[in-house]
Symmetry: C2
Subunit: 184 residues, 2 copies
DNA sequence: AATAGAGTAGACAAATCGGTATACTTTTGT
DNA sequence: ACAAAAGTATACCGATTTGTCTACTCTATT
């Protein structure tokens, strides 16, 4: 609807993802976006509401990105390769839509919001379920053990790439491991 | 040395781990520990120094806990079982030394401190390397692919248990997957 | 041309942040 | 026993936090 609202949201998401939510104040978002404080509080009743909207925005972007990466996969092996190649590309900052890699926004956010019953923490959980579903939809065979393995290794790869910075080796190892599982 | 210093550190670690570092103020730590502000700043020059000391404390506790859990393992298979049984026990709050489970303190902390070159972020990286080394020391065979798989799945399991709350199924799946890898 | 809605700039409020200073008391080592 | 070190309580500092308020401007539609 409003282009100001959208610019606010884009700026907030970028800053939140890059620096962590608690480290980014409302005033910084206003300064970077060049929008007045009053305008922000017309569109979002509170910072938490802005955070929640940013999470939704990131969720939509990530799911769309993932679906596109998994499109046209015609076998389990192709899903494995497409998924972890995409992750590797993300880790090495070659996915413009996702911004400079700094781990998973939802893992990071759930680390800052400790209340397990809050809307924000709940949405992080919901996001992970949705991602799992997208992967599941692309697996022809109903191999739930392989699906589980892919999801666990995906989280492990994201965390490892973020903390240890070795993106390429990690994803290559994941592919190798999952291929062994697939054919066993 | 000083018992006050230790109490400060224990309180800080508990609160930081449970609520996130940026969500816990100096004053809260003082109120809970019942120690004067002046005393804190005698022992720690800044909040960041306290955070760093808390990370070191957690590191020592975690490494000791892990070594104990992996002690007396006599085969690769036993390492797999000991490691992921221990994790499952942690996830379901049965490991008093580690406190109520709220993910990995180092993953959580690195989510809050975005500067990759800071001492704090660096220590989180260092911790993960040390954990990997402890696991490696218990593997008789020099199977680096299995080691890598165990580390990736360990991170994946921690994140998944925290965000999705399904501790038991996750670790059971990890064990199943790793056993397949081991014997292939 | 008039009016309503969206936006701006910035002062302001109340709370909280990390950190310092002061004046005093307790503990500890020799 | 005495002196140094450690600890307490509390006031205070400047900066920063989210959020409110006022007064003004721009723009679009009827």
């Amino acid at each position: 609807m409003s282009q100001k609202r959208q610019r606010l949201l884009d700026t907030a998401l970028t800053l939140f993802y890059q620096n962590g939510i608690n480290s980014v104040g409302i005033n910084e978002i206003l300064a970077v976006s060049g929008i007045a404080k009053r305008t922000l509080y017309i569109h979002f009743p509170s910072k938490d509401a802005l955070v929640f909207a940013a999470l939704q925005q990131r969720h939509d972007i990530f799911i769309a990105w993932l679906k596109q990466k998994l499109a046209n996969t015609k076998s389990t092996n192709e899903v494995i390769h497409s998924l972890f190649s995409a992750l590797e590309s993300w880790f090495s900052n070659q996915e413009a839509e996702l911004g400079p890699f700094r781990g998973c926004f939802f893992i990071n956010t759930s680390a800052e919001f400790s209340d397990i019953n809050s809307d924000i923490f709940n949405f992080c959980h919901h996001h992970k379920q949705q991602v799992r579903q997208v992967i599941a939809d692309h697996l022809i065979s109903n191999n739930s053990e392989l699906l589980e393995a892919m999801c666990i290794m995906k989280e492990g790869a994201i965390v490892t790439a973020h903390l240890c910075g070795s993106g390429k080796e990690v994803t290559a190892n994941c592919i190798k491991i999952l291929e062994k599982l697939e054919t066993s």
